[in-house]
């Protein structure tokens, strides 16, 4: 790649009809559509989206993982489009912090952004925690069973049940990622890119194995791991599992928040990319295309899983794994890739797939880490947090202090998740509930943006209307409705655990911290002669 970097102004103007440009810097072309879409797909994390296969039929008996995926991906188009439109008009890293600060008020922008970033850091810790019970345990279990290696099987059990191992592995990977972030960015990105490509291998292998294996073969395959297909179904139903009957649209709709945890976040590039404006439709729609592609891939995977495993089996096995462990026959907890691993006897394939799935957990960490540190930088530049937080290493130019803050917070969260437990074990859904608070604010900002920032809207590339109304306002209204649906679903369904007391307390505490920091910072800065309210106040343009 030629080292032809240079300043940009978010051009693309060279290709626009009726526009003539002179020889000047910054007139770059748009990010290619394929790169833009690929970037967004990376954030959806297809391997993790596939976990709906076991969670939906367990928590919502009668729900179809396939239809959960299809419906959720379809309705998430509006929230994703909302972020796309905002990114087109404010093409800056920072995502909702920039959108909301400019549209509503810096205080609201900071509080909303702090809330979601704090929960992202919590999710970093959660992924690190899951590495042992899901990633490593399933890898050892599958390999141990296949090779008749009792030590590996025991390690699988230990990894799934021993808190010390869960914390040790989680902390080690967090510290490793923290160390990666202190390296020069380019070196870190190379490692990250390789990990991402490797993580997709598990999806490809799973697709091929599911396509080539029928139900009867699977029922035979699991006997090698100590399971009996029919017995698992009967044991689960005896234990109280009510799924396995007819398809239930109601349960399917109730299960949508499970998939929202993946598809609702096809907006994350608004935080990590977007420095160059892509005003044309290919750039603007890249997040939507990525959502559709991810939805189709996951839906195919889960449709194949239904054919090979059966939704009844997936729900029954997960029910036993979660609620009747004594009758659960396998060494690792029930989840999609574990069962896929049973479809092959090829040790190399199993090793690759297992490691690939582990990579899917790890690959999510640096990206989220980067988003958190960038946000801390932005808050520091705006004087909301101390300048010290944006100090960088003289040698590598990496943001050392911000990295330590994120790492420290993630380690604290990991400690709570592993040793306090309780509602934190359903943290992914609690995070969804809490993060929707930020999404509410973004949707409201979208609705009123064309009216509150008329000049900016009128001169922007998203100045178009649907049904006579500004498109971003219409998208904001539809997004708000969808967010309300997911919020109510998560808040009212105990099956997901998002409304556990500890989760609600965490949600309130984190939101309150975000709300309180700004006025405190405002008062402290005021004493030093800095007025934070000026940061986003519009100067008279006349």
């Amino acid at each position: 790649m030629a080292d032809t970097s240079g300043p940009t102004d978010g051009g693309g103007g060279q290709e626009e009809a009726g526009l003539y440009t002179r020889q000047s810097s910054g007139l770059v072309r748009d990010i290619s559509a394929s790169s833009n879409i690929g970037l967004n797909i990376a954030f959806v994390s297809i391997p993790l989206a596939a976990l709906v296969a076991t969670e939906a039929p367990f928590a919502f008996p009668g729900a179809s993982p396939f239809w959960v995926t299809v419906i959720c991906a379809a309705i998430c188009i509006f929230p994703v489009l909302l972020y796309s439109l905002f990114t087109a008009v404010m093409p800056r890293s920072g995502g909702d912090y920039v959108f909301v600060s400019r549209t509503l008020h810096p205080w609201v922008g900071f509080a909303a952004n702090f809330n979601i970033v704090a929960w992202y850091v919590l999710v970093i810790a959660y992924f690190a925690y899951l590495l042992a019970p899901l990633g490593v345990s399933s890898a050892f279990s599958t390999l141990g069973s296949l090779t008749k290696n009792a030590t590996l099987t025991q390690w699988a059990t230990d990894a799934a049940t021993n808190k010390g191992i869960e914390f040790g592995l989680g902390a080690a990977v967090l510290i490793l990622v923290g160390f990666m972030m202190t390296l020069r960015l380019r070196r870190m990105l190379r490692v990250q890119g390789a990990l991402f490509a490797f993580s997709l291998l598990s999806v490809v292998i799973a697709g091929v194995l599911l396509l080539t294996t029928g139900r009867a073969e699977f029922a035979h395959d699991i006997t090698r791991f100590g399971g009996n297909y029919a017995k698992i179904l009967s044991d689960a139903h005896k234990a109280g599992y009510t799924g396995g009957g007819t398809f239930s649209l109601g349960e399917t709709l109730l299960a949508l928040p499970l998939a929202f945890a993946s598809f609702g976040y096809a907006v994350v590039t608004a935080y990590a990319g977007g420095e160059v404006r892509s005003p044309k439709s290919s750039g603007r729609n890249a997040m939507v295309y990525a959502l559709v592609i991810s939805g189709v891939v996951v839906a195919i995977l889960l449709g194949l899983a239904d054919r090979t495993f059966g939704v009844n089996f997936l729900g029954s096995a997960t029910y036993l794994s979660n609620t009747a462990a004594k009758t659960y026959p396998f060494a690792a907890p029930s989840f999609f890739f574990y069962f896929v691993g049973m479809l092959t006897t090829s040790t190399p394939l199993l090793v690759v797939m297992s490691l690939s799935f582990i990579a899917a957990f790890v690959v999510a960490l640096p990206v989220t880490f980067l988003i958190a540190t960038r946000s801390i930088f932005a808050w520091s530049f705006d004087r909301i947090l101390p300048d010290r937080l944006s100090d960088v290493s003289e040698r590598t130019h990496s943001p050392l202090v911000a990295n330590f803050v994120v790492l420290g917070a993630a380690l604290i969260f990991l400690t709570i998740i592993v040793f306090v437990g309780g509602g934190f074990l359903q943290l992914l859904y609690t995070a969804g509930l809490a993060e929707i608070l930020t999404f509410f604010v973004v949707a409201i900002a979208g609705i009123i943006f064309p009216f509150r920032r008329r000049a900016l809207y009128e001169s922007s590339p998203i100045n178009f209307r649907w049904l006579g109304l500004p498109a971003i306002s219409v998208t904001g209204v539809l997004s708000l409705i969808i967010y309300i649906f997911f919020f109510v679903s998560l808040a009212t369904q105990s099956a997901l655990g998002a409304n556990a007391t500890v989760g609600i307390i965490a949600t309130v505490v984190i939101a309150a911290i975000g709300i309180v920091i700004f006025p405190i910072s405002y008062a402290l800065n005021r004493r030093r002669g800095v007025d934070l309210s000026l940061a986003f106040r519009e100067l008279p343009p006349e």
Partner: protein, 326 residues
Amino acid sequence: MSPFGIKRGDTDRTRIFFATDVHGSERCFRKWVNAAAVYEADALILGGDVTGKSLIPIVESQGGWDCQVHGRRYHADDEGALEGIRSKIRAIGQYDVVLSPADRPLLEEPAELDSYFAKAMRDRLVSWVRLARERLGSGRVQVYMMLGNDDDPALADVLREADAVTYAEDAVVSLPGGYELVSVGYSTPTPWNTRRELSEEKLAAVIDAQAQKLSDQSRAIFNFHCPPVGTHLDLAPKLDETLRPVVDINGQVMIPVGSRSVRAAIETVQPLLGLHGHIHESAGVERIGRTVCINPGSDYHQGVLRGAIVDLHRDKGVRTWQLIQG
């Protein structure tokens, strides 16, 4: 009482408002001029790259005028509507030219296009310095402008001849409070081979020659369009051979594109303050030794003025700074 809670007439304090890279945006320039009163600044400094990059033809048609902005077609039926469209184009930093259908093909000729650009750039800059004189001509606020790498060197004359504006690149100039402003608008080479680029060696020589004119290095302020390399002020998207940004899993790949010469000069002289621009997407503040280096970034195409308010104290140097998006 100022919006910062500091009493006016604080003789130890000098307030600077710095913005850069407005790239022809009428709305940004007007905001910059108006910022003097809003922020009660003692000195306004506009970094380089004052001229726009693109030109939109407005073609006469039956019963009015037609043009395209952001790919959307606009039609004006009367002079009022035409002025509205022209104002919209000017606000986002683009130039407009009204042509007859017969003259429209002239823009396809490079020499003619250059000529239209040259006139449009000069006309707008002339109108700007006129506006600055009208609004800031009382002399209460000192006003400094310079050119950047994207600007036609011939435009320096417009700034030199302006009444209320001081062209900052000709000499070391004194700011209120006795600070000395050294300005260099050149950049290191870019992929676009723009008008005012220098190799690192030549840029170092220019900076050195300017710095030699300082009477007191401890009170120096560097107004260098190009940011120092290896900071968070100089990160720009890596581009491929077709000038498309390179993307990986973490988003756009950002790499440092600042100047080694600028960094070396800052490390050697250790001015109080470094004011930079050039890299629109790399807004931030970073210290190099004792020097506070600022790049406020640029959002000119949205009509949003990004800038920095810096309070200098006679004894304490840089007392506070704040990035704003006005």
